[in-house]
């Protein structure tokens, strides 16, 4: 094994289709017009010395090292800023160039410390490499003069020198080593789009500055790591590299946080992870990352990880460590007993959107083939199940229509119910890049998210709707498009069912759907709605990106259909730059749905009542499958409270914290006789568990994740599982203990079974993924290279289906007791229930959940910024600290749900989407009042959790 080396071509690739032929050092080469000479040379295998150039950013031309000579032209132009031209002849190495480069390097090194042996970048320093490349042998200037290297000059304090900034938990900034190449500043601007860094001063006084000469952690820096990756010296260095040293091998794998599914190189020294570096060939992230994937992996070796299986008879008992064999035998006998006593349908399982496709597939197989029922569900139930339903009804597939590259061709983007800069940061960076190029943005969100207005990004329209009125606003947009004659009739006639369109058009044209009429529900001025509709319909390629602010409502599925209607009526489907793009929450939520995790369907979204599909699996598995749909998670909990559901195997999901109406979830779990939790940590759900099976991290196993663009990415094992077994092995052993004859030797064999049974995966195999890097399903004989864009020549279902979308107000209404509407969301540094990110240094950014409240509502209640407040709904109450901000409108409050002590889901109700039971997290009527401290519920919960985490013979667990 060795490091995966990536070539730095110096400047980005040109997209031109016209080729230009030139000669470099006597070699003839043809490259696209607009390519830099530097890049052309690199493509010909000639590396021109460079320091300030990176193919992640535009050419800058500041380091003066990449000079070349061009026959017939005067001087020595910088090869990074000089484009190729037909017929020119370039020399990259002449005596004149050698002398100049050596002189330039000598000046660089004259203001750089010579502590190379003990420097953290030793072995990975471009400055050192370039000194070698130009043959620098002597530096004639000492440090006696003005310099940035020495803290003291001739005994005097050196005002040019600045100390290391170690404020960021993950990387250090050492200005003494900086050569002011501006790569970090440009990476922050061009790659990340945050503009947190700048160069202050001029000439010799120039220095990199975070914000207004702040330290990194206090500045606007979002810790994405782009600057660290761009830095050619040790100025910006991962603390892990400083501590451990340079990695010796690396493995390409996939991030286990959000649905963007970034590719990373896990850079290793033995089995120790030195750092995660985004992989340029990763087709979702194109070499970029966010603070979570780049840095927040410390949870994998956190002391809270449970490494031995545990059992207890009652949830009030302390845990007892047992062998794996005892644990498997116990679960098998308990589940068999329960099924004998309460019936075949009294047990079920929950698959994890955090685990691999292969693991998810095995859990649903265990339920269907082993338990003999279809009581299997997954956390997509509480996030994107309406996406699956809505898009399947309208288009015929339960997935987004585009790849992420598509955004590079978008002219108008609508973001609704999503906050990409926090939830899907790498996609947000790609979107912001396109917006800086001139694309327009429409934001539909109750809250003023960062994209509404931030550095060099400003939405053309922000429609600040009242929570719960998505369908009203989208139908109003459709009303404007239809009544103002902006529909793309040619597209509709060709691709959609015309009579259904006519029916729908007549429906949306009704005056009560006009922006003027719906203003009363949505709270958005009609003119804004009309302007936004016209822009989307006429502004070129229109793409809709949406998140859980769409799905997690009583009308979640209806909203997804309304989005699909809008895309169809404007012809924005089937080519790059357009489409309907659900931003998936978890790394493998798309995959877990693809793998048949829902109780009504087998892998590939085929209904369980379909005889031919069942037969495929029955033959292979040697069982008869139940043709009745099983219970969904909320139905399981209801059935548990009713006494007909008694055993649950939960792999990698924390339903007690993540599902709505915590008290109801707790009651359901408490009513069960055998709850098996397989996880990294004793999560909140484990408080109610009888068996705990230790889980493994994404670093410890092979498999695949499928991201929001249907991209199947490999997850590769870089270390042995600390708990001894990958999760798929645990499920397999459990199945064996229950008498199933499973003998998978490697996850690739599971993928082979998926491919053999699921037509959209027919050509997928680990060998093929290794060859292709990744593929997007459908990947079969019709689409051997995968399908970056769907519905290109027509909809999967045949004709696109327009569906009427009538706005129905949620029954969760404000009133005198609960006058405010609570909506929830995520923050950049944390991930969902926070089980992982809270166990990393990311807590420096967000140590607690805060309640955002408008100054007007705060003043009325006598609440000051930072005060403890009680947040109460019909379901329950909790306390947290207030954050006064006008990002939320009067009447709306907002919080995140990353910390278990906050228990935001004690507040949320059990209202849910009409079609899928996806809970209505995004609308809860609440009251906010000043408070002195935790509620009784929080105190009781904390005590119960503490008691429940005791392990016999061990000191009390830390959390």
């Amino acid at each position: 094994m060795s490091l995966v080396h990536e070539i730095n071509y110096g400047t980005p690739a040109s997209k031109s289709e016209k080729l230009v032929t030139l000669t470099i050092d006597g070699q003839e080469i043809s490259v696209p017009e607009g390519t830099s000479i530097m890049r052309a040379a690199m493509e010909a295998g000639i590396e021109v010395p460079k320091l300030c150039a990176s193919d992640m950013m535009d050419a800058f031309g500041s380091c003066r090292l990449c000079l070349v000579e061009i026959e017939g032209r005067a001087g020595m132009p910088a090869s990074c800023t000089t484009p190729v031209a037909q017929g020119i002849s370039v020399s990259t190495q002449t005596q004149r160039l050698k002398d100049v480069r050596r002189g330039v390097m000598e000046l660089y090194i004259s203001d750089h410390p010579l502590d190379c042996l003990t420097c953290a970048a030793n072995g990975d320093c471009e400055l050192q490499d370039m000194a070698g490349a130009v043959g620098l042998r002597d530096v004639r200037y000492g440090y006696d003069g003005s310099n940035h290297v020495k803290a003291r000059n001739n005994g005097e304090i050196n005002i040019q020198w600045a100390p290391k900034d170690e404020s960021n938990p993950y990387f250090t900034f050492d200005p003494a080593k900086c050569i002011v190449c501006s790569r970090c500043v440009r990476a922050c601007e061009e790659v990340q789009g945050t503009f947190a860094l700048t160069i202050s001063g001029r000439g010799f006084d120039s220095r990199v500055s975070a914000g207004m000469s702040e330290d990194f952690v206090s500045s606007e820096c979002v810790s994405c790591g782009a600057c660290v990756q761009a830095c050619p010296t040790a100025t910006l260095t991962e603390k892990s590299v400083i501590e451990i040293g340079q990695p010796e091998h690396s493995v390409v794998t996939t991030c286990a946080y959000c649905g963007v599914g970034c590719s990373f190189k896990a850079e290793m020294r033995g089995e120790e992870l030195v750092r995660m570096v985004p992989w340029k060939d990763g087709q979702a992230n194109r070499g970029h990352s966010c603070v979570k994937g780049r840095f927040a992996y410390g949870y994998s070796s956190h002391k809270d990880r449970i490494l031995n299986p545990m059992i207890r008879d009652k949830i009030s008992d302390p845990w007892r460590e047992v062998t794996w064999e005892e644990a498997y035998a116990h679960v098998a006998s308990e589940f068999r007993r329960i099924q004998y006593q309460y019936g075949r349908d009294s047990v079920g399982g929950i698959t994890s959107s955090r685990c691999t496709n292969e693991e998810t597939y095995l859990v649903q197989k265990l339920v269907r083939a082993g338990f003999g029922n279809n009581n299997v569900d997954t956390c997509a139930r509480v996030c994107h199940s309406p996406t699956g339903y809505g898009l399947n009804q309208t288009f015929g597939t339960s997935a987004g229509t585009q790849n992420f590259d598509s955004v590079e061709h978008t002219d108008v983007a609508i973001i609704i119910g999503a906050n990409p800069t926090d939830g899907h940061p790498v996609f947000a960076s790609r979107l912001k890049k396109r917006l800086r190029e001139g694309a327009k943005l429409i934001v539909i969100d109750p809250r003023r998210i960062d994209l509404v207005r931030s550095a060099h990004v400003e939405a053309s329209y922000h429609l600040p709707i009242k929570p719960g009125t998505n369908v009203a606003i989208l139908t109003a947009l459709a009303h404007v498009i239809v009544t103002e004659g902006l529909a793309d009739e040619a597209f509709i006639r060709e691709r959609c069912d015309w009579s259904e369109f006519e029916d729908w058009a007549a429906f949306v044209a009704e005056p009560y759907h006009s922006p003027e009429a719906t203003e009363a529900h949505t709270g958005v001025a009609a003119e804004l709605v009309r302007g936004a509709a016209r822009l989307y319909a006429t502004g070129g390629n229109g793409a809709i990106y949406y998140g859980l602010g769409v799905t997690e409502h009583s009308q979640g599925s209806t909203t997804v259909m309304a989005i699909a209607n809008l895309a169809m009526v404007t012809g924005n489907i089937g080519r790059p730059g357009v489409g309907v793009n659900p931003l998936r929450g978890q790394n493998n939520v798309q995959g877990s749905c693809d793998m048949g995790s829902f109780p009504h369907e087998l892998p590939g979204y085929r209904h369980i009542s379909d005889d031919a599909t069942r037969e495929t699996f029955e033959k292979l598995w040697g069982v008869t499958l139940n043709n009745e749909p099983g219970l969904r998670i909320p139905n399981m909990l209801d059935a548990a409270v009713d006494g007909t559901f008694k055993g649950l195997y939960i792999q990698g999901e924390d339903i007690l914290q993540s599902d709505p109406d915590t008290k109801h979830v707790a009651a359901g779990l408490a009513a069960m006789e055998c709850v098996v939790v397989q996880d990294l940590f004793l999560n909140e759900t484990a408080n109610y568990a009888h068996v705990f099976l230790p889980g493994s991290t994404f670093l410890e196993k092979d498999g695949t994740f499928t991201n929001a663009e249907r991209r199947i990415n490999r997850v590769r094992k870089v270390m042995r599982p600390k708990n001894g077994y990958a999760d798929w092995e645990v499920t397999q052993k459990l199945a064996q203990a229950m008498g199933l004859d499973w003998n998978y030797g490697h996850p690739s064999e599971i993928m082979d079974e998926i491919a053999a049974t699921t037509p959209t995966f027919a050509l997928v195999s680990y060998d093929y993924l290794d060859e292709m890097g990744s593929v997007q399903w459908p990947c079969n004989e019709k689409a051997p290279l995968g399908s970056p864009i769907m519905h290109v020549d027509g909809f999967v279902r045949g004709k696109g289906k327009f569906i009427r979308t009538e706005y129905v107000a949620t029954d969760e209404k404000t009133g005198p007791r609960f006058p405010l509407l609570l909506t929830t969301g995520r923050i950049l540094s944390h991930y969902n229930v926070g089980a992982q990110t809270r166990r990393t240094d990311n807590v420096v950014w967000h140590p607690e959940d805060r309640l955002e409240i408008h100054p007007h509502d705060a003043e009325q209640r006598g609440i000051r910024d930072g005060d403890w407040v009680r947040l109460a709904s019909r379901s329950g109450d909790t306390t947290l600290r207030a954050l006064i901000t006008d990002r939320v409108a009067p009447g709306v409050v907002y919080t995140t749900f990353h910390h278990p002590t906050t228990q935001a889901n004690v507040i949320t109700t059990d209202f849910s989407d009409w079609a899928t039971n996806c809970p209505e997290y995004k609308v809860t009527a609440v009251q906010v009042s000043p408070s002195n401290g935790p509620t009784d519920w929080q105190i009781d919960y904390d005590e119960q959790a503490r008691q429940s985490r005791r392990i016999a013979g061990k000191l009390e667990a830390a959390e």
Partner: protein, 76 residues
């Protein structure tokens, strides 16, 4: 089955009916029935039928209209 769960099922059935009520009239009842057939586990459908047999109080009339098209689960 507790009263609470029954109330939830009625609420869920009515939500489904509310959606299909807005669809073209000739598709509405079939829409409700197909949806419940596809997504409701047999325990849930059984409870729904028991409730309908007890008069179906609180159910949207469209659910009652759809009932003959809903697959009846075998007795428990």
């Amino acid at each position: 089955m507790s009263a609470n769960t029954n109330a939830k099922l009625i609420y869920m059935a009515n939500q489904i009916a509310t959606f299909f009520q807005s669809q073209p009239a000739n598709e509405a009842a079939q829409g409700v029935a197909t949806h419940i057939n596809k997504y409701w586990e047999s325990r849930m459908r059984r409870k729904l039928f028991e409730h309908i047999e007890h008069g179906g109080e609180g159910l949207n009339p469209l659910v009652l209209e759809a009932a003959p098209k809903i697959r009846k689960p075998e007795a428990a």
